[in-house]
Symmetry: C2
Subunit: 213 residues, 2 copies
DNA sequence: CGACTAGAGTACCGAACGGTACGGTACGGC
DNA sequence: GCCGTACCGTACCGTTCGGTACTCTAGTCG
């Protein structure tokens, strides 16, 4: 039953507006900034409607995650006729997009929320977070890497392992530090440079010696 | 005033026992599992004592972080007369220790707590977490890397950058996924292998061509 | 022995919040 | 005109929890 709510991202426009409002509140005040009463006041709706639409508070949070996840673009990977320079450029784009997403206000707030709840309740929100958000990005990267391997730009054995290494080179410890709220860590103006550096290191590790670039 | 409490890790043995008990409760039930009444009951002390010792709930949390941080061994880096094999071995030990620490129950619970609070309250706990826990590990790694560079085992320009890359190679996205409670991510039996792989990749990126190993 | 202190145990208060119930209102179909 | 539906606004309830006050016990020191 809640599965239906979660799996279906066809929310009413009205409901989507409420969810956006909820995200805004969450970004503003953290988990305790998001109360049903507060949301009802901010979104000009009634608490009863919230409970009717989303079941309970957990359902609301799940809906927020699903709604937000439906907004991140998957990123088109046009892997046809891709020379070395293009492949490198696609990887760099992916890295940059990943950093942008992880550093976003809403992403940080939702991740904080899911992590805060991860200890109790069998981490239902955490699973949702991973499946809805992370898997999509992962799929995009995997496809890209596979294409690069097929065309001989990179070589590797384990697809999962190489992806995780790539991720590590891009994100490092940035994500956790941003989640912890460390000041001066979010520097979007450096993301381009960081992305290029990560890709350069990635090619050192997995690139073939074809003078692709 | 709270500064005094935070900066001073000389807690009474009794107080340390209470803090340990609090950590246990936190590990067991997440943030909501740790209430002052519950702690008083579990630790056989009175709420009033808790408030007298730690000020308020935030002070208690800060004390817990400080107390836990004081328990992680910094790791002796005996960098004297270190040949290539030893250096590599030290790096692998560091990587393994890092994975062990991050995957620990108490570490995960405290990080979840700090991250959950990071949005509000100017992320005081987050800062504490970084300064108390992260910086120590960072310092150990930095010293190790510097020693390795001085002896010609590795080469690099920016100390910070190379450390962060090393961290990324070791941890990848494991930490966040563990924080999210993803099932099947914590595999301590694989940490040794992962550490060696990370170090191998690290040497590909930053190692000199001296046949050290 | 008597005064003092630390601390356990408990009772209590007030605020916040999740969740429910109810009255009022606009709208669309019959 | 009438009914059903959806929904807003608000009042309300029960619980939880942080924080405070008070009492009683045990140990210490003069």
């Amino acid at each position: 039953m809640d599965q239906a709510v979660i799996a279906d991202e066809q929310f009413t426009p009205r409901q989507q507006a409420v969810l956006d409002c909820a995200l805004q509140l969450l970004v503003g005040g953290g988990e305790k900034g998001l109360t049903t009463a507060g949301l009802a006041r901010a979104a000009n709706c009634s608490k009863e409607s919230i409970y009717k639409w989303f079941g309970d508070r957990d359902g609301l949070l799940a809906a927020m995650i699903a709604h937000q996840a439906s907004k991140v673009r998957a990123g088109a990977d046009n892997a046809h006729a891709m020379d070395g320079g293009q492949f490198r450029s696609y990887l760099t784009d992916f890295a940059h997009d990943l950093l942008d997403v992880l550093a976003g206000d809403v992403s940080l707030a939702l991740n904080r929320l899911a992590i805060g709840q991860a200890s109790r309740s069998e981490s239902r929100l955490g699973r949702l977070m991973v499946e809805r958000g992370r898997r999509r990005i992962e799929a995009r990267a995997m496809a890209l890497l596979e294409a690069g391997k097929r065309r001989g730009h990179i070589r590797y054995q384990d697809r999962e392992a190489v992806y995780h290494t790539f991720y590590g080179l891009i994100v490092r410890d940035l994500h956790v530090r941003m989640l912890l709220g460390e000041a001066g860590v979010r520097r979007p103006e450096q993301f381009a440079e960081m992305a290029e550096e990560a890709v350069a290191q990635f090619f050192v590790l997995f690139g073939t010696d074809t003078p692709a670039d």
